[in-house]
């Protein structure tokens, strides 16, 4: 593995780093909002990876008309996937934030230790 290969594929390296950063935040940070931010960083890293898969250097937008060389157009499918992915991520975050509001009302805190440590009450 030469250094230049890493530099040339910096998009993959960065999305891997972002994914790990997000995973670390979800797993380790005690604050629920920070965990959600970590989750969003993970999501962004996956979106970055997918969208960069469809990238073609110097490529054109995938609108095929007369005179457009079809050999040099950007793959539109990853972009469509990411649009869907963003909708999914926003919905997850919305549900999670509303749960956070409810947790704060019930427990008076958003620190995972304080919430998880309490006895289960029905």
């Amino acid at each position: 593995m030469s250094f230049s290969r890493i530099v040339n594929n910096f998009n993959y390296v960065f999305s891997a780093l972002l994914f790990l950063m997000g995973l670390y935040t979800v797993a380790v940070k005690p604050n629920l909002i920070k965990k959600l931010i970590g989750l969003n960083i993970m999501e962004t890293s996956v979106f970055l990876l997918i969208v960069s898969l469809g990238m073609v250097g110097g490529g054109e937008a995938p609108i095929v008309e007369a005179g457009v060389k079809t050999a040099n157009i950007v793959n539109p499918i990853p972009q469509a996937l990411i649009l869907t992915g963003i909708v999914v991520a926003v919905s997850t975050t919305a549900v999670a934030l509303s749960l956070c509001i409810r947790i704060h009302q019930k427990y008076g805190t958003l620190e995972a230790g304080a919430i998880l440590g309490r006895e289960v009450d029905v």
Binding site: L39, V46, L53, V88, T92, V95, A96, L116
Partner: protein, 498 residues
């Protein structure tokens, strides 16, 4: 375009229509939402029922959404397994929905009832869509719909412990969804396709330098879906979420939603990668033996944890961890017999576990008690629900002539055929432990003198006991008449293994 040509996609489109209009119906009249949701599930159930004949005639029914030919567009592809899943989902959902009628008005704030039925329809359609789609990204989208809906459904009562459980479930669930999305993107980067059969064909002719990427994708898929399925070491979210949710929701989550994780593994293993995918031939054996050992440990660990629970719903939830082990063990055997056992346990557990959770809900409805020791003597006061519990317990344990017995019989037969006697020990030990945790409750219900419950306690309303009784009788029916679907399941297994 005739209606019959669009038949496969209607399975998703009809409940989506009903779900979208459910809040509108709720604005008009809250009480009408139940009947609206019931109509949606009933119409979908009818459509699924009429589909069975078509699928068995042609092995797989396809429909190109929007007229885009595969591999470019989304293709709905209903095979034997897909129609089996769809039938299980509609059957169980229908009965649970009937139960919801009285339970929801008792347990939920009135203004939340329209949203409850909307979420119910959404989770229902997402599970059906997940089972019948032939497109891997579409599968991810359906998976996200039922995941996000189930986080919301767990927390719908707004109780302290339920909200906490829902958040824990969300963190695990969202992380596992992301690993699956990451796996899809890896697979797309080496194959350039999202259609499952097309990916499978392209993997066969892939350049060997891409092999590690495909292997990593497979690993991410397995991790993601085993979290969704709550396989033993990754089951941490399940007991809280399934026991703190309202009981009908627990029934749906435990009977159906965790099966979707297993179904995802099935799709990835057989439809996408294909066992014959030569690029990984050396790794397949290792992967499958590791997974089957994990599944075998899950059987015993889940059952052992269930034995120590004092709370009825926690006990039932841990029992699900054990049963996911059975299903996955059957699938990992890679023989028609073992897989048939796995599929049959999927059905038996869906019926039995839905029944147990609904009965637990009935006890909460009448008495507000959850501790097993508080159930003393209830069998005489609530004979139908308690009887249903006992009957469903027979299936969970695997005593003849229940459906659970048929499933375990095939699993044991499959392991004997493979010469893996250790798995037989695990399966039987799991059954033994199941007998301990189930019959302890049955003992409290029927064989102890009543000293706790108030004298006014009687049977729950008919819309609550009838679903419990039907589910319990279902486990008996599919035990006695297992010949009705075993041949189709064997065909399904053979088609997957081909």
């Amino acid at each position: 375009m005739s209606l019959s040509a669009t038949h496969p996609v209607l399975l998703v489109a009809v409940p989506l229509f009903f779900a979208a209009l459910c809040p509108v119906v709720g604005m008009w009249k809250r009480a009408a939402c139940f009947y609206w949701a019931l109509a949606g599930v009933a119409v979908t159930g009818f459509l699924t029922w009429t589909l069975i004949g078509k699928v068995t005639a042609s092995h797989a029914l396809t429909y190109n959404v929007g007229g885009w030919r595969p591999p470019f567009g989304i293709q709905i592809r209903i095979d034997y397994l897909g129609v089996f899943m769809a039938c299980t989902i509609t059957g169980v959902s229908m009965l649970v929905l009937v139960y919801c009628h009285r339970y929801a008005t008792h347990d939920l704030k009135p203004e939340r009832i329209p949203y409850f039925y909307t979420l119910f329809l959404l989770i229902f359609l997402a599970m059906i869509g997940f089972s019948i789609t032939g497109d891997i990204f579409n599968m991810f989208v359906f998976m996200e719909i039922f995941s996000i809906t189930s986080y919301a459904l767990v927390a719908i009562t707004g109780q302290k412990a339920a909200v906490r459980a829902a958040f824990k479930y969300l963190l695990m669930g969202a992380t596992s969804s992301l690993t699956i999305l990451l796996a899809i993107s890896f697979l797309y980067s080496v194959t350039g396709s999202l259609n499952m059969p097309d990916i499978s064909a392209r993997l066969g002719s892939m350049r060997s330098t891409y092999l590690p990427v495909a292997a990593v994708a497979l690993a991410f898929f397995v991790v993601g879906f085993t979290v969704k399925a709550a396989l033993f070491p990754l089951h941490g979210w399940l007991p809280d979420a399934h026991s703190m949710a309202p009981s009908p929701v627990s029934a749906i989550l435990s009977a159906l939603v965790i099966k979707m994780g297993v179904f995802g593994i099935l799709r990835i293993f057989f439809t996408v990668f294909g066992r014959s995918f030569s690029g990984l031939s050396a790794s397949w054996g290792t992967l499958l033996s590791v997974l089957s050992w994990v599944a075998a440990i899950a059987i015993v660990a889940g059952a052992a944890l269930a034995v120590f629970q004092k709370d009825l719903k926690y006990m039932i939830a841990y029992s699900s961890v054990s049963h996911i082990g059975y299903i996955l063990l059957g699938i990992c055997m890679l023989s028609p017999r073992g897989m048939t056992g796995g599929f049959y346990n999927l059905l038996a557990h869906a019926l039995g576990k839905a029944c147990l959770f609904l009965v637990a809900g009935a006890f909460i409805y009448k008495l507000g008690v959850r501790r097993i020791s508080d159930l003393k003597g209830l069998g005489r006061k609530m004979p139908v629900t308690a009887g249903a519990f006992a009957l469903a317990s027979l299936s969970i344990v695997g005593i003849p002539p229940s459906a659970g017995f048929v499933a375990k019989f095939y699993l044991v037969w499959g392991s004997l055929q493979k010469g893996q006697y250790a798995f037989v020990v695990f399966i039987l030990l799991g059954s033994l432990l199941a007998a301990v945790y189930c019959f302890r409750v049955v003992y409290y219900l029927f064989f102890t003198a009543s000293d706790g419950p108030a004298p006014g306690v009687d049977e729950v309303p008919v819309t609550m006991w009838a679903p419990c009784a039907l589910l319990a009788l279902g486990t008996l029916f599919f035990g006695l008449y297992s010949g009705l679907i075993i041949p189709s399941l064997q065909t399904a297994a053979r088609l997957l293994l081909r």
